[in-house]
Amino acid sequence: MRLRLVPEHTSFDFFKHWKLWLGFSGMMMVVAFISFLMQGLNYGIDFRGGTTIRTESATNLDVGVYRDALTPLGLGDVVISEVFDPGFRADQHVAMIRIQAQDDQEAVSAEMIDQVEGALKTVVPDIKFVSVESVGPKVSGELIQTAVLAVVLAIGAVLVYIWLRFEWQFALGAVVALIHDVLLTIGIFSELQIKFDLAIIAALLTIVGYSLNDTVVVFDRVRENLRKYKQKPLAEVLNLSINETLSRTLMTSMTTLLALISLLVLGGDVIRGFVFAMTWGVIVGTYSSIFVASAILLFLGVKRDWSKPDPKKTGNQFANIDA
């Protein structure tokens, strides 16, 4: 008596409409990219400089009051939003205030923070400033560079590793799947305008790691089956491999999602964006290792003479299957 997510034997045909799936994935990537170009991302202060202040008070929060208190200071773009979380106490009212980087300053200004805190204290006497973070424009520019560098390096390193362990077609398939996952994650952050900060980059890299984990497991089986069934068409080998690993793929996604969803619900609002990115990434990553990475592999074809040239190959009905 066991809990099973999929029946013992599955023979879904994942590649019946593989061009359709590839097209769909491609389209989603384009949509994500367009959203990124049109709307951009809701960058946190890590990436664009400025100050965020997290306030807490026992009295009911009125964003308008906060705004009126800060307007006379002339700080430019100020965004005030109330934060909700099921973990908060009844009298815990939390707001996030984001102030743009002040034009004339390279470094962080203590006076500005003092002014803001003073102004808010006069309207909400019991207000507490539970966190105050400022990043100067000089650093934020560098942070963007290192973040982009990190993602590119990670994908590059993976490309090389898989190329060494498998074949270049596998490496390319895996990397396209990774780019797909990263783009779709950036896309949803752009679409929903969730705050995009340094932690999200960490999440992106973890998604890269996870999605790869999934892809590699499928590829490993493909490699094994290619050796085992030398005569089978590639599409069938891929299908067989995915079906054989399907139970594992879903089990692992399930346990990981269980862990992530409990963090998403119970982990507090501070890391919600981070955990959301990872949850989304696990779903997208699982999808992409089947419908993107393997489909690309099918599209590119694979060299079949793994160990030694196969003498039976000539005259066989599948002889030119990977041409």
Binding site: V108, S131, E133, L258, M278
Partner: protein, 553 residues
Amino acid sequence: MLQFELWKRVLIWAVCAAGIILSLPNAFYNRVEQANDARAAIEKSGATPEREAQAARWPSYLPSDLVNLGLDLRGGAHLLAEVRVADVYKSRMEALWPEIRDALRADRASIGTIRLQPSPEAELRIRISQPEGMDTALKTVRALARPIQSLTGAGSTDIVVSGSGDIITVTLSEAEKLATDDRTVRQALEIVRRRIDEVGTREPTIQRQGANRILIQVPGIGSAAELKSIIGTTAQLTFNPVVGRGSDPDANPGVGNKLLPALNETGTYYTVEAAPVVTGEELVDAQPSFDQNGRPAVSFRFNTSGARKFGDYTRDNIGSPFAIVLDDEVISAPVIQAHIAGGSGIITGNFTVEESTNLAVLLRAGALPAGLDFLEERTIGPELGQDSIDAGKIATGVAFAGVLIFMALAYGLFGLFANVALILNIALMFGLLSLIGATLTLPGIAGIVLTVGMAVDANVLIFERIREELKTAKGPSRAIELGYEKALSAILDANITTFITAVILFAIGSGPVRGFAITLGLGLITSVFTAIYVTRLLIVMWYDRRRPKTIEV
């Protein structure tokens, strides 16, 4: 077939036991932390019964290393400061001028009179009245250049001298600038460390970052502004002879003098001689105290050479004022009443008690070689940190329970084996984190939760493989063996690729991101170990005992 040599069994259990023992202190975090603090206090300032009792709350034969909590969990202040390295070039050039002047004087016959021209910072422009002697002059000045003692700058000298027309230009060479920058940042780092140690908070992190930045993290401090007031001031203390006093900020101080504002009287300016009698570098001690009228003050003591200079000066100048200057502001300008021979004195100004305490700290720790710009500052309140820890605990607990139940339902007995391995995995992870003194951050907790989810992956791979091998009916023992064997390449490839991303995160990231990379990377290592060795050993032990004819995975 399913054999495990004895030494392997012993090693595996030893590693697990070490993991549990090393991670144990974290289960009693507060108690161990208090005991550690008490022990440190006993070491530093002797035992008291109270401290002994605190220390005894955690047995000394058990390990007491804890996972450090990052600022986002404990609360505290984080600053990223950039050292204004160029500040030092200016003083270097100022110090060079007398040397060059003296050297050139010897050549007066061929180069004529020499005069310092107004020059941009970090540069000296010297005009000679007989341009025909330029070659001689250049040769003389170049003879003053010193070779650079550093690895990268080997073979080059510290100054670059060039001449055009009747002007000699002297600048620092690029190699010397690099060497100076490095020295300046290292000095600044040391001073910042001393100042923070003086204040005495727990486990501050003070690190150099990049070429000329310093990262400072102090847990438990109320705000970054407070931290800045301790480390942000240069605290260059000098005692200069006073030439005059006035209220014109644009007055011409005359050659060799400078005009400085008074600290507590706006609109008052002192003209003082630029060369100080004594500087703060010659102080050996400074303490907050009170003057005879009960106002807060700072008392200080000079070292021997400082005391002699100060004594000689006060003896020769009774009745005239001298200025106590801190960072180019005059704190006070008392009139010398008597010969001060002992080398100690007192600084009064309109201080508050807090200011005098801070000033004493700054003077004791020494002056920063250059100013600091703050590029990044973060303050996290302790309440927020506590909320995050609480939420993290609940989430981790629920995630853990969920995965355990799920595995047991899906794989039965084998699932239970995997669960034991998972628990050991967490213990090993915390043990390792404590051992290397890693810092746990909020994303780090997420890393652990993710590891919990992904750690079972290796076991899932193996179990699924065993199921498949069982179908071809080679007998349970062979199936188990083949399952492990064939799943290995997938497990390794999958984990190595993830590990690569963790390494890149660690290398490039900073702060919380780095914390996440550490937990993720360590989690991968421990999960591969527990999945491959621990569950296998458990299964082998069970199989040896029961010898089942069939198994169900």
